[in-house]
Symmetry: C2
Amino acid sequence: MRQIGLNSNEIMKEIRDIRKADIQWPFVFNSICSEPLHIGVEAFIKGLDTNLGDNRIFKGTAKVESKVIELLKEVFHGPDMVGNIVSGGTEANFLALQVAKKMRPEVEKPEILFTETTHYSVLKAIEFMGLKYKIVETDENFSMDISDLIHKIGKDTIAIVVNAGSSELGCIDPIEQIAEIARENKIYLHVDAATGGFIIPFAKKLGYSLPEFDFSIDGVSSITVDPHKYGLAPIPAGGILFKNKDIQNYLTFNSYFYGTQAHTTLSGTRGGASVLAVYAILEYLGMEGFIQITKKNYESTEYLIERLEQLGYTLVCTPQLNIVTFYVDNAHNLMNQLETKGFIVSVSRRFKNALRIVINNHLNIDLIDKFVEMLITIDVKETSQ
Amino acid sequence: MRQIGLNSNEIMKEIRDIRKADIQWPFVFNSICSEPLHIGVEAFIKGLDTNLGDNRIFKGTAKVESKVIELLKEVFHGPDMVGNIVSGGTEANFLALQVAKKMRPEVEKPEILFTETTHYSVLKAIEFMGLKYKIVETDENFSMDISDLIHKIGKDTIAIVVNAGSSELGCIDPIEQIAEIARENKIYLHVDAATGGFIIPFAKKLGYSLPEFDFSIDGVSSITVDPHKYGLAPIPAGGILFKNKDIQNYLTFNSYFYGTQAHTTLSGTRGGASVLAVYAILEYLGMEGFIQITKKNYESTEYLIERLEQLGYTLVCTPQLNIVTFYVDNAHNLMNQLETKGFIVSVSRRFKNALRIVINNHLNIDLIDKFVEMLITIDVKETSQ
């Protein structure tokens, strides 16, 4: 560290230069996070000195979190729903699995079931928490195979984690059927809707035929929904929702100070800025605003698919959300070539021969056209070599 | 959620009203977090759309994290140090204990040792991770008792967590002696310096006689230091530092996308704003800036102690950092009375008959005078009832 500090102008100039090396949003074709909505940024900035870890200081801001949960009750059909805005989907998944574990203290080697399309944060949680797991097979749509699920359930199975949808492909597991099985076997059911939580409710209103995924299903105990993904909030803003307070109560950690609220999150100190941002976005967009954004994202997705299919590309699966994966030759190399031209796409380790494109609010049909033109230029060149 | 959203002016007006209910910083006498430094806020805002979970998009911002670690190497005497800016001290402590656990896979029921002054995030980590623990006794200074530590070490002891210092009292454990014991017994030693990490290095330069606590001690494997506490960064900005890459490697989680870096944090998606803020603050203050702030905090602390002792109050312990705890009658009631007058102080569940005051950069001698006047008014009234 330097002995005498720099002046703020020099530092802010360097920060601006640093940011110039970041890829601009119109070229980002792989991200479930998007450019945050302006109202969210504005509200976030107003709360940059707040700490929800101390509700005695931040008496005003602390109340906003329950307002957010209140607003989301209708969206996720949870009349008794409780929850928190947390650091991200990983923390949310940790919290859900911790509840599942604590509910079944008699199980010595607790086991979690999920498919290989499940987000790696679930594996992270399992590794941290010393849990066991089994991978349930997927069907032709990369969704959980019900017969294999039934086959894999054992006496140590304490939880099933399902996707709504997977962040690799956007596939949604058949949650209603799974919930029935979970109920019969008294197994905790957690829905990881980090990707689809702020898509599915609005897509259904637009008439898209998507499976149920939320507390409307008897048997769903918790849902991960990430406002900082399709909720268009600045990072960090993950979300964990529990069906009711009784379930969340397994998480309660007392502070060692009087008057400071008990925690139901992993973090003790946590910024109120995130909560203000999420609140502002929900109030600003309303149901109609989210529906319009979702409509645009689906239209962009459909347009991209149309163009790709016209060009002869084959999809890995028919997308349920706004993720398009299609087969290419030499995907890894193509991804790198696109990156040198400024476009960021992904290649999953599991689908090595496919490009993965994520459509979010920062993209539109014009930008998709530009991307497709670049793809053709590079891919044709590659293929003809 | 409302069907049609509100306009942004209405929302921002509500946010401002919400913030009016929060206690203003000059009245906050209990918080290890302070009002963030302006340069930190400014830099944070510039990165509100960034995600360190994707270094392919945020090529510029992603590099700043290693710059931060580089700057901190000198401060914490870790020439080979590696680390991350994380969501907070809790995540940092989780990561350290996960490394300790993974280093000793042969231990079936791993056990952690620490004192009762240790932050509750360590207990949280233990509960999530299904670890065992034993509480080591403290000496008359509320620091870890060496002979009891030796007594409590067993074949299952995989880690010792020490404080630098405790967030209740600011007490620093005798880390040099503990490190020797840890080395002899091949036990992982983690230093929780969430509170003292951005105080002790500068206080030592001012001539305060404080114990060593960092990588200068052979045997320290990791340190939690929280920029969002005495580092004056906006929340979230915790920090986890490992002595070297070999130790951190136990944490490596691969993303399932090619080209996306492996994670060494709990969160996958995590904002780059925090890292920009920490970088800006380190560059802005430099060693000298931190020393001046630390000097002011110690002077304020000493002034508060002087006034309290003149008034006949007795300290629970001689503070090593900037936390002052003193005995009062009916502490819980006094805390509530002060709160009705707008002043926030804490009472710990373990020291029920004492008030705890935390001095940080947002306080000064004038504000301490105002607080003490209010304390006298209320406490005399209380006592004479």
